[in-house]
Amino acid sequence: MNPSLKLFLVIFLSLELTFITKLWVNLIVIIICLIILMHYRFHWRQFCWLVFVPLFPALAIFITIVLFSPGHSLFDGTVLFSRLYVYVCLGTVFTFTTNTLTLARSLEQNCHLPSKYAYGVLAALNLIPKMKQAVTTIYTAGHMRGVNLHWWSPTLYFKAILVAIQWSDQLAQAMESHGFVEGQARTITVKIPITTRDWVYFSSILILIQIIVIALP
């Protein structure tokens, strides 16, 4: 599906299910997401991660509502428990099936997002591994100077932001010297279309979910 449409759908569904207290729709969305992920050959280790990550907050909310809230509602607890899995499943389906460059191109072409946002963020995303390394270096530099930095140490953030300022400067200069000019028109190598099929998928999923929401508790 077209990445922009997919993004819109994921956000819309997350938003809608936040304001609706229905159980079945949550479960069905989770199951559909899992089927999609299996279709895309999701690794079993990634499945375990998917189950584990939201487990603590989900259990905390469930226990608190069922045992400690005035209503003691098992239904509400289950809805909220499953809702967290809805969020994570939708997020995972999106990130797992969407290439960031295609998303950036789609946002630029289909949604007319200024290219400085699309490519600025994309350029930064490529630096995630390097940023992890840089943070490790800061911790190490601290140790070597006899200072134990913690995640709440202002120095840690200060040093990391210093690195970020330098990199953003370098990258912006590099992009500019590769011909990028803010606000200037660009041509397109790969056209990202929104096809009739995309619209059909998009609207049938939306309608299907609305029917489930209305029909089932």
Partner: protein, 186 residues
């Protein structure tokens, strides 16, 4: 004062700041889980969310302080949250919405001071706007409407304290260092 739009360099910087917070939070994620395990048996499990909320909301106020440009706080917070989704954290797609909600909360602090003041008052106001706006969102998202009035009051206070400590005090300390190193535009 500088009324300018965000340029390519600023956008890359905001995204990188998002990545920094993403990378560091990820390592500190155990704080959240630890608090959850501690608080759940006494019926305050979701309060781990309130107590750590300030940590997740540092990028926005810091970005606002660093760039002093309308939209910087919003974008810093939103990009931070979006990048966390790509790193694969526990809130998934809701991150995009939470990020937008938190971004608005952070941005309002600067809007209310008309993008002219960058001091403690600004941070106090942005802590307040962040507290109320994110609490409103959790009212629906995390089912806070099911809790008793007393519990809600305690959680609201906890959230404000967390907000003020992390996205207020800690952000100010970081901003002070940047200011002294002449990295913040006057």
């Amino acid at each position: 004062m500088t009324k300018r739009s965000l340029h390519l360099r600023d956008i890359i910087l905001l995204a990188l700041i998002g990545i920094i917070f993403g990378v560091i939070y990820f390592a500190a994620g155990f704080v959240y889980n630890g608090l959850t395990i501690l608080l759940t048996p006494i019926g305050y499990g979701p309060m781990a969310n309130d107590l750590t909320m300030g940590i997740w909301c540092m990028a926005g106020p810091l970005a606002g302080f660093l760039l002093k440009t309308p939209g910087a706080a919003f974008l810093g917070e939103f990009l931070g949250a979006a990048i966390e989704m790509f790193l694969g954290d526990q809130w998934g797609a809701a991150n995009l919405i939470s990020g937008a909600v938190q971004g608005i909360g952070a941005e309002l602090g600067f809007t209310f001071t008309l993008y002219r003041m960058y001091n403690w008052l600004t941070l106090l106001i942005s802590s307040l706007t962040l507290t109320f706006i994110t609490f409103g969102w959790d009212w629906f998202r995390n089912g806070y409407n099911h809790f008793s009035g007393q519990m809600l009051t305690i959680m609201l206070i906890a959230r404000f304290v967390s907000m003020f400590v992390f996205s207020g005090i800690l952000v100010k300390l970081i901003a002070n260092l940047l200011q002294r190193a002449h990295l913040i535009k006057q």
